[in-house]
Amino acid sequence: MLTIKDLLVKFPMRFGAFTAIEDVDMTIKPGEIHGLVGESGAGKSTVGAAVIGLLQSPGYVANGTLTLGDTDLRNLSPAEAHKVRGDRISMIFQDPQTSLNPLMTIERQLIETIQTHSSLSESEAINRAVDLLEDIGIKNAAERIKAYPHQFSGGMRQRVVIALAISTDPELIIADEPTTALDVAVQSQVLDLIQRLAKERQIAFMLITHDIGVIAQVADRVTVMRKGRVMETGVTAQVLGKPQHHYTQQLMDSVPPLDRKIDRFRVPEADDTIASNGAMAENWLLEGSQHARTGLSLTGLSVEFAGPRTSIFRKLPPYVALDDVTLNIKPGSIMGLVGESGSGKSTLAKAITGLVTPSSGTMELGDVVLPYGKSRSRQHPSRQLIQMVFQDPYSSLNSRHRIGDILTEPLWFYGFVKDEQEREKLAASMLSLVGMQPDAISKYPHQFSGGQRQRIAVARALLARPRFLICDEPTSALDVSIQAEILNLLKDLQAKFGLTILFISHNLAVVRQMADDTAVLRSGKIEEVGETNALYTAPQADYTKSLLDLTPVMPTTWQT
C-alpha cells in the first residue's frame, strides 16, 4: 500500500524555489487503480516521479512522507532506491514508440530486467518472459520475443512495455498517460489489461491522465489536481458524478459528452471589453463574405504514395492513403471527419490544400475545380479561400516573428489592405475578435500559452478572408478546459461568418459537439457519412459502432 502525506516537491531556481506540488495526500491499496487527473502543469507527473524517486534534476522532495508498505521511500540511500525501482515500483510511459531501447531485442530487455531482480537462470528467465508476453496478449510469443521494438505496432509495443513493468512483480505501477498516444481500439485493450492485472495480481496502479473518460472507465478512486494541489479526492463515481469542488465542476463542464450535443460549453466568459474592439475585424470579414457560402465536393478522390524500392527491379506496391473518397460538404456547414491514426484524415486535408497530389478524382470548391497539388498556381483563388488551423500551436507559428507580422502577412500577401498601419489595426481588432488582448500584437509566440496560440492561429486563418476552413485536430494538443474555449470560439465564428469548416479529429466526442455532418474514415475509405446526430445515435457501419463503443465515457447514471 502506497501512502503519500503532505508531499512537497520543490525545484530550486535562480530566484528562489519553485514549488511544483504541495500538500498532496494519497493512498493506493493493492489492486486499486487510482486515477490522477488534472490539466498540464498540475503536477500529476511530478507526484509519480517523486514516488519512484526519478524527479528531474534539480527537483527534490522537500517535505512529507512517502511510504510503500513498511518502507519509507524518502529514507533510502540511492542504491537502495534503485533496488526498489523495478522490484517494488515500476512505471509505464506515455509513448510506446520511444520507451523501448531500439537497439536491443525485446528478449534481451526482458531478461535483463528479470535477472536484475531475481536469481533466475537465463533459460528460466526466457521462459518467464515468454509466459508474460503470452499472458499480456502477444501471440506466438516464443518467436516474437526475438524481435526488435520497431517490429511491433504501437499497441503491441505498449503491451511489451507493460510486460516489462510487471516482469518483476512490483507492488505499484505508475502509469503516466499510458493510452494517450494510442487509438481508441488499442486504448480500450490496454485499459482492459491494466484492470485485469490490478485484479489478478493485486498490483496498485497510479493512473496519471488528462482524459476524464479513461478515469471514469477504469479508476476505482480519483484525485483531481490543479497547480500542484489536490482539489478533490474520493471514489470515482462520487468525484466525477457529483463533484464537490468548484474546479472539478468546471472541469466536468468542459468535457465534451459523446452521447449528446451541447450548444456551448460552460466556461468562464471572456470579458466583453475585449470583444467590443473586434467590431472592425468583424465588419471587414462580413464585407468580404458578401458572396455566397462555399461548399466543397470531392468525387472519387484517391491519393497514393509510391512504395519503397527494395531492389533494382522490385518496388513495393504504392501505399493507398485515400481510396475513392466521395464527400460533399454543404455550404456553411461543419463536416466532421473522424478516424484512427493512419486512416488518411490529414492526407485528405493536404490534398484539398494542394500539398499532396491526388492520383485521381476531382475536388470542387463552390463551382471551381481545384487543380491538383503542384499544378495549382500560387495565385489560384483557392489558396486564399481555403485556410487551415493546425494541430500543434507550438510549431505552427514562426517563433521568430512578432504576432503582428504573423497576422498582417495574409493581409499584405493577398493584397487586401495596402496601408501598413491599417493592417496592424485590423490585426489588433482580429485579436479582440478571437478573445485576446490587442496588445498581443507586439509580442512573440513563446509568450503565449497553447490555447492563446491556437486563438492566434485562428486569427491568422481568418485574416485571409477564407470561405473554407480546415481544422486539423485543432484541440488535441490542448487541455480540456482550453479545448472547450476554442470549440466555443470556432462555433461562434462559424455562425457569424457562415464559414464552411472541415473539422478533423480522432476524438468522437469533440466532433459530435462541432459537426453538422460526420464522415468516418478508415484506411483511406469512407466507412460512413451522415448527419451527426443520426450517425451517433444509430450508426450503420460496424466500424462506427465499435469506435463509439470503445470510446471511454462516463456511465450515464453518474450524470447530474
Partner: protein, 324 residues
C-alpha cells in the same frame, strides 16, 4: 540490403568520376603540359610533334576517357619532377600516411569516447569542467603549433622522442611499416598525437552531447524505472544508442585526417602522401597532385561506405523490416 549497398556503390562511382574529372582538368588546363615537360631549347616543331604523339590534340572527351581508362588500368602516368611512375611514388607513401592516420584515430577514440561518456554522466564534476576547458584550448590552437610544442617539450627539452622521420621501419611485403619496431613507435607517437588531438576533442564533445541527449530519452528513463543496473544502463543501453550518430562524424573525420595530415607530416617531416603533395606543389608536379586528389577521394568514398555498413550492423531498424 544488397540493393542498398549497390546503390551506394553506384553513387561512389559518380563521385570518383567527378573527382577524376577535376584531376584531369588540373592536368590539362593548369599550364601547358608540353612547356612543363620540355626545355627552352626544344624547337616548336618538336613540341608540336610531342603534342600530337601524346594525344593532346585529340578531342576533350576522348582525352578524358583515355585518362580514366589508364587510371582504371593502374597507369597513373609519370611525375614531371622525378620522371618516376606516379603510382609507385604514391604507393610507397601510402603506408606512412595510413599508419599515422589509423593510430591517430585509435588514440582519439580510446581517449575521446571514455572522456565523452564521463563528462556526460557527471556534467557538473570538477574533472568534467577541467576536461572541457583543456579540450577547448586544444581545438583553439592550430595543429602545427601543437606539433611544434610537442617537439619542443618531448624532443628537444626532454629528449625522449625523435622529432622527425619514421624511425626504424620494417618491410612487410610491399608495405613499409613502423608498427613493428620500438623505434618506429617512438617516431610515430608525437605525430599521431598531434594529428589526433582535434579529432579527439570533436569525438569527446560529440559523444558527450549525444550521450546527454540519450540519457534524457524515454527508454533510458524507463530502464531506470525498472531498476536496470547502472553499468548496463550507461554502457549497454545508452552508449550503443549514442554511437549511431557519432559513427558518421568519426568516419567523415577519418577521411579528413588522412587528407589533411599534410600539416602534421610537414611539421614532423613524415614521409607520407601529404609531404609528397607539398613537394609536388612546390615543383608544380601536376600529375602527382592529380593522382593524390583521386587517391584521397577514393579513401573518402571507402570510409563512407564502411560507415554505412557499420550503421546497418548497429541499428536493427535498418537491418530488419517492420513485420507488423
Amino acid at each position: 540490403m544488397v540493393y542498398f549497398i549497390l546503390k551506394r556503390m553506384i553513387q561512389s562511382v559518380f563521385v570518383m568520376l567527378t573527382v577524376a574529372f577535376l584531376a584531369f582538368s588540373l592536368f590539362r588546363f593548369v599550364g601547358d603540359p608540353i612547356t612543363q615537360m620540355t626545355g627552352v631549347e626544344t624547337s616548336v616543331e618538336d613540341q608540336e610533334r610531342l603534342r600530337e604523339e601524346l594525344g593532346l590534340n585529340d578531342p576533350f572527351v576522348y582525352q578524358f576517357t583515355r585518362f580514366t581508362g589508364d587510371m582504371l588500368k593502374g597507369d597513373f602516368g609519370f611525375s614531371y619532377r622525378t620522371r618516376q611512375p606516379v603510382a609507385e611514388m604514391i604507393a610507397s607513401r601510402i603506408p606512412a600516411t595510413l599508419e599515422l592516420g589509423v593510430v591517430a584515430l585509435i588514440i582519439s577514440l580510446l581517449v575521446g569516447i571514455p572522456a565523452g561518456v564521463y563528462t556526460a554522466l557527471k556534467p557538473r564534476g570538477v574533472l568534467t569542467q577541467t576536461i572541457l576547458m583543456t579540450t577547448l584550448v586544444g581545438v583553439s590552437i592550430p595543429t602545427f603549433v601543437i606539433g611544434i610544442m610537442l617537439i619542443f617539450i618531448f624532443g628537444v627539452q626532454l629528449g625522449w622522442l625523435p622529432t622527425f622521420g619514421r624511425g626504424g621501419t620494417v618491410q612487410i611485403g610491399g608495405w613499409e611499416s613502423s608498427l613493428f619496431s620500438f623505434d618506429g613507435w617512438r617516431a610515430l607517437l608525437l605525430p599521431a598525437i598531434t594529428l589526433g588531438v582535434y579529432q579527439l576533442t570533436l569525438t569527446m564533445r560529440l559523444v558527450r552531447a549525444e550521450m546527454m541527449e540519450v540519457m534524457r530519452s524515454d527508454y533510458i528513463r524507463f530502464a531506470m524505472a525498472r531498476g536496470v543496473p547502472t553499468a548496463s544502463l550507461h554502457y549497454r543501453h545508452a552508449l550503443a544508442n549514442t554511437m549511431v550518430p557519432v559513427i558518421t562524424i568519426i568516419g567523415l573525420q577519418f577521411g579528413g585526417v588522412i587528407a589533411f595530415s599534410i600539416v602534421t607530416e610537414s611539421v614532423f617531416q613524415w614521409p607520407g602522401m601529404g609531404l609528397l603533395f607539398l613537394e609536388s606543389i612546390r615543383f608544380v608536379d601536376i600529375p602527382v597532385m592529380g593522382v593524390y586528389l583521386v587517391v584521397i577521394a577514393f579513401f573518402f568514398v571507402l570510409v563512407n561506405l564502411v560507415v554505412d555498413l557499420l550503421y546497418v550492423a548497429i541499428d536493427p531498424r535498418l537491418r530488419i523490416r517492420d513485420v507488423s
